[in-house]
Symmetry: C2
Subunit: 205 residues, 2 copies
């Protein structure tokens, strides 16, 4: 009824697959693909190693499943950028959504960053098939805003890169950021203020 290849995942299956993926996200995001071990994932999930391999084909399979699930969530904030809205507001809202994502899903951000850092060996196909078309589409939207005179002339691609970099930085480089920020301060709140100002002046000035 659902996808034709399997009947229906039992409650145990559903629970354990989720446990494993959550544990794997924790471990992969902290240690990278090769740095992570099935034993670590098993311990984190509270299951035995062979039991994990009962639910997934192998280490690679778990990693790939995570990346695949992540892609959707990851692209969502950009999908929401609406060509019919106000350019400045749309882009500033996008910045805020990306920053929120870094704050709320830091493990996902680091998993993604680690994969890209190593040349995207396991994710390139999905980058090409999902990220690239969306990126091109939104670049075209921004370009049209510029041509309508609603934004100053700038390279949409680099604008998006700057947004990605400056927001994800707080998740990916968290260990450095927390070392350099004073503990009392709310890093994400002040980051939101700063990034809002930075991109607002860029888009309006």
């Amino acid at each position: 009824m659902s996808d034709g290849s399997t009947k229906k995942p039992s409650r145990i299956q559903q629970r354990n697959r989720h446990l494993i993926l959550d544990a794997a996200l924790e471990v992969f995001s902290r240690h990278g693909f090769r740095g992570a071990t099935l034993d670590q994932i098993a311990t984190q999930a509270g299951l035995s190693k062979p039991n994990i391999l009962y639910y997934f084909g192998g280490k690679e399979d778990i990693h790939l499943t995570l990346l695949s699930q992540l892609m959707e969530t990851w692209l969502d904030p950009l999908v929401e950028m609406n060509a019919a809205g106000d350019p400045v507001e749309e882009i500033l809202n996008y910045v805020q959504r990306k920053l929120d994502m870094a704050q709320q899903l830091p493990r996902e951000s680091r998993l993604f960053a680690g994969e890209i850092l190593q040349g995207a060996p396991r994710m390139r196909p999905e980058l090409e098939s999902k990220l690239k078309p969306l990126f091109d589409e939104k670049c075209a939207v921004i370009q049209s805003w510029i041509q309508q005179g609603r934004l100053p002339p700038l390279d949409p691609r680099h604008l998006i890169f700057s947004i990605w970099a400056s927001t994800q930085h707080y998740a990916d480089f968290e260990s450095q950021v927390s070392l350099l920020m004073n503990e009392g301060d709310d890093t994400y709140a002040s980051a939101a203020t700063h990034l809002n100002m930075m991109f607002r002046t860029l888009l309006q000035g």
Copy 2:
């Protein structure tokens, strides 16, 4: 005569240590610490594995040597930021130096990024002793510029984070960037233009 613990590195020693560190930089930056193997490093260096361990105490030693050497180079552009200069020019020059560095030393950038991404397990002491004091010092410089009315009010810490993030992005996420940029374009040239404009409007507007 040089450092008191060793006589003098022979020509062979000098050459081979350099070969090994260069090979290790290549391998570590691409695969991370655990992802890299001594065999890979040995092959890349054109030496045998035991021969590599003749020159270094072990895998960890090689990695630590690389990170230690890198720190100096890495902080240099920020050191050059001069409190006596023009604020906007000083910061824009800093942006450009960081971008040049990403372009010319992408392996070093990725090595650094990978270490931070994993929580800086091997570099935290040096981050605390070298990066943090310099960071605090330059934040104070920027703060004084602001108090003198020579820069608009902004959080110096987040300004520096934004500069780091948006410049290093081109090295650390190179695989993604190259996938999304059209091949004919000069990525770094257009990035320089964009970042210059972005930070100029922020600092002047």
